[in-house]
Amino acid sequence: MGSKVIILIVIILAIVAVAQLLKMYDAIVAVRGKREEDVDLKTNNLNATLFIVFMVVFFGSFFYLISEYGRGRMPIAASEHGVEIDWLYGINWVIVFTVYLLTNALLFIFAFRYRYKPGVKAFYYPHNNKLEMIWTVIPAAALAVIIILGLMTWNNIMGKASDDAVVVEIYAKQFDFTARYSGDDNKLGYSDYKLISNYADNSNPLGVVTQNNMDWRIFEIQQGILEADSLLKAVDEGKAILSKANYLKRVKESEKMARIETRIWNMKERFGDSVTVLANDDFYTKTQLFLVEDQEYSFVFRSQDVIHSAYFPHFRAQMNCVPGQRTTFKFKPTMTTAEMRKETNNPEFNYILLCNKICGKSHSMMNMPVYVGTQEEFDAWSDLEAGNVKPIVAADSLLVAAPHIVKPVVEESTNDHGGHH
């Protein structure tokens, strides 16, 4: 508190002081008959000179920042296309720095050189079409180079992944990432947000579609509705108390869950057992994303709640994760974590996946470590026995039998044509 009072007092005193100075200054000015708009020669020269001083300091700090914090600090690109991006950056920096230095220099030098000098009249020079043509065409030419090189690289990076690419899903939610590997068939099982569940007996955090998962989800919903119904019944009978608003809220909630249940029933009918097969070999983990060196990956991004962005700074890769949509990005890591540790001289270095789209309170804590290793390392790591990853469909020994569920009759007849397309 003390320091605040002092700061406040200092500010007030400063204001008073400046006001006093202004008054004095004004009195002097009034005596001399000097007007504010007449900038005297000395002041004018001073300000003109300051532009040159500024330019020197400005450019000086630019070069200092480049040498101190330029590319050196962000490690070299660790992906195949990342090297291309860095190369493109190189070319663009040259163009852009040249423009930056030359035009700023021209501006500041003119600002100094053409300051007011007694007896020198300005040169009446309203236009010159040739000059203007020149500085339309030169930027246009430079931009043409930038555009062509840029789009060539862009099309490469965003083009289709090759057939060898391994498919991995990155699933985002407030505030963590989950990675799902597509397993032996290199195909991800389908997913649907209605199946997302943290139900203790059969959690399905990614909403992967299997017959078993659908059964469990229906079971979970039915349990929930039963519970809610019994509470509402108790209230009806006067055995429990709920505010009217809360009561209605629960009624609505039950109705909603019943509708969602119907939609899952419809899904169940639409999908045969093949969905289960598709998802059978998938496995997932929250602890880290493990990639194999020199293996191309085709990432699929999803989000459960709000927009997130999967940002891999070292791989020069980024893609938004949009709820209700699937986005993709492909890249091939070219340096293992071990190699990068050597390169950066930092035994503790790790790659990382960061969230880079504001997504809520803990946005800055949403990330996932990324590890790049060899195929053997990966095989060992992803072995189910090792416990690093979880299977989507539990191995036989662990299989929890699907619960017995019954399709509610009423619902079906009323909603029959609702979900059959």
Binding site: M1, V39, L107, Y116, H127, I146, I260, P323, G324, G360
Partner: protein
């Protein structure tokens, strides 16, 4: 002599003169003072979150003092951090640089420089101000809501901004944000319609479109941009209100918020982004063009030279205005957009650099062989040109979708748009205030103090935003409460980010305090400044032919007639180094 003006002179009470005035000059001053107040708030908010970024987690008595429960033990709350960032951005972009800049100077200068008695509709103009005032009050009020202000970033992307379950600021705070913005847009539209109609219809005799000062061209195109783009934001906002209150699903598809599973299906959050940026990109030029317009006038007057390439300048403004409607996708390269479409946006965006470059070179050529007088306004104008160059070239990097991949949504973007908005556009605002203060208040501002203000601001503002580029290239995402995540996996980067963040924050605090010089100068001069003369800068345009004391209808007698363009400075064969627009062409003299 004053008879004509008195024809429509109504007796004025305090209320009609100072509060519900329909006089464009008074309304301009109302916009300016409101915007200055909003700017003070926004600067303070930014200093609060800069303290957190430089000294994360350290107890700070300033934070405790101002933020109370939002900074328990002097450490800024995580949610409030995002709230501060959001409201800072919203106020600066919309309330200071749109309302403040266009509202003040379009109002002041359009009638004065065109030789009109007032705006086409004084009543609409008054309503426009009061809607602006109301929206300002609501936006400020949202800072005091218990669950906090809107906190999803100034772009308020759904679903984050739609559901309270995803962040507390998306409750009441967001409702107020949307309400305030809707009112703000109504204000802005009324203003813009008025500007366009006035420019088209109320030019005095001889004021051909090709004799209008570049300020007017800039305001005119700005108003057109506003009319064409703000309604799209209204629809975006209304659809969002419906998603929030009626459970529609324009922006929502298959999501679970908090623990609640939503039935909304078939919408897309990306639709919102398209609508938002369809306004959002023209908006950045709505912010910048007026600043460039003011600068054109100031640079020419104070170099005592005609602005170089008048027609090319108009052409550039038109080109920028047109192109700014077909580039919005450059904010969305990484939303899963079709790469071909991304490529189209790369192309259109980079085209904008051409008219921008033309403008820069024309400014520089205007200085060439000039006779430059360093008034505070001129200093700020040169600062504007410098920062427009610096910010424009980083725009070129970002517009290249390939290069955007690693820096999108990092501090590199934050640096880019602050150099063009926080420096260029704000400098334009300052330049305008210093230059036209005599017309607004009939007094002069203190020159020495203004020059000191410029140098402090120029150095410290670059000190804030220049190093920020390096933080971004180093991989620091924006809207992060702190960078502790880097500590664990890449110590080098963490060190660099923290080093620079401290430098940036110190400059930010200096820059903030430097503005006290401006405030003192401004308010002190309103009452105690040296009395102004009619044409202190020896300028050509019409506003400098009006009397120092404001009169209703601007000119006491007949409206002036215009005979030439406004840039006849140092014209050979003339006695003075300036020739006001009202001076008839000499025999055999050519118009520009």
């Amino acid at each position: 002599m004053a008879a004509t003006a008195h024809d429509h002179h109504v007796k004025e009470s305090f209320i009609t003169k100072y509060l519900f005035s329909q006089d464009h000059k008074m309304i301009a001053k109302q916009f300016l003072v409101t915007a200055i107040f909003m700017a003070i708030v926004a600067v303070m908010l930014s200093i609060f979150f800069r303290i957190q970024l430089a000294w994360p987690g350290e107890s700070n008595s300033t934070l405790a003092f101002f933020l109370g429960d939002w900074a328990p033990d002097g450490v800024l709350d995580r949610s409030m951090y995002l709230g501060l960032v959001t409201i800072h951005g919203t106020i600066m972009v919309f309330f200071v640089l749109t309302g403040g800049l266009s509202g003040t100077f379009s109002n002041l200068l359009i009638p004065l420089q065109l030789g009109a008695r007032d705006m086409a509709s004084g009543l609409l103009n008054m309503i426009s101000y009061w809607l602006f005032f109301l929206s300002s009050v609501i936006m400020l009020a949202s800072l005091f809501v218990e669950t906090g202000p809107a906190a999803a970033g100034w772009t308020v992307y759904p679903p984050l901004s739609v559901y309270e379950q995803t962040m507390p600021g998306s409750g009441m705070g967001m409702t107020l944000w949307l309400t305030s913005m809707t009112i703000f847009i109504a204000s802005s539209l009324l203003g813009s319609l008025n500007y366009v109609v006035t420019v088209l219809n109320l030019r005095t005799k001889g004021m051909k479109m090709t004799r209008m000062p570049l300020t007017i061209w800039a305001f005119f195109i700005t108003a057109v941009l506003g009319i064409l783009s703000f309604p799209v934001l209204v629809s975006a906002v209304v659809l969002m209100l419906m998603d929030r209150t009626l459970g529609t699903s324009f922006y929502i598809n298959d999501a679970i918020v908090g623990t609640e599973i939503l039935e909304q299906s078939g919408g897309s959050p990306i639709l919102y982004e398209h609508l938002f940026w369809f306004l959002g990109h023209p908006e950045v030029y709505i912010v910048l063009l007026p600043a460039l317009g003011l600068t054109s006038e100031i640079v020419s007057t104070n170099s005592r030279k005609p602005i170089f390439g008048y027609r090319a300048m108009i052409g550039s403004i038109l080109a920028i205005g047109f192109l700014s409607f077909i580039v919005w996708g450059h904010h969305m390269f990484l939303t899963g957009m079709n790469p071909f479409l991304g490529g189209v946006f790369v192309f259109t965006t980079l085209l904008i650099a051409i008219p921008s470059a033309v403008k820069v070179f024309n400014y520089i050529t205007t200085l060439w062989k000039g006779s430059i007088r360093y008034t505070p306004a001129m200093l700020f104008s040169i600062g504007l040109v410098s920062s427009f160059i610096t910010g424009g070239i980083t725009g070129i990097i970002l517009a290249d979708s390939t290069l955007d991949i690693p820096v999108h949504d990092t501090y590199f973007v934050v640096a880019h748009f602050h150099v063009v908005m926080g420096l260029s556009a704000i400098f334009g605002l300052f330049a305008g205030v210093y230059h036209w203060f005599p017309k607004m208040y009939g007094k002069m501002m203190n020159t020495k103090l203004g020059q000191t203000h410029f140098w402090l601001t120029f150095v410290s503002a670059y000190g804030v935003f220049f190093p920020m580029h390096f933080v971004g290239i180093g991989g620091a995402p924006r809207r992060y409460y702190d960078y502790s995540v880097y500590e664990g996996f890449d110590g080098n980067q963490f060190e660099m980010i923290m080093d620079l963040n401290v430098v940036i924050s110190i400059f930010a605090i200096v820059a903030g305090f430097a503005q006290i010089l401006f405030l003192i100068n401004f308010f002190w001069s309103i009452w105690n400044g040296q009395k102004a003369t009619e044409n202190p800068w020896r300028a050509n345009s019409l506003e400098w032919t009006t009397p120092v004391e404001h009169v209703h209808g601007n000119w006491p007698g007949e409206l002036p007639e215009v005979h030439r363009w406004p840039y006849d400075y140092s014209k050979p064969g003339m006695d003075e180094d300036y020739v006001p627009q009202i001076v008839p062409l000499k025999e055999g003299e050519e118009d520009h």
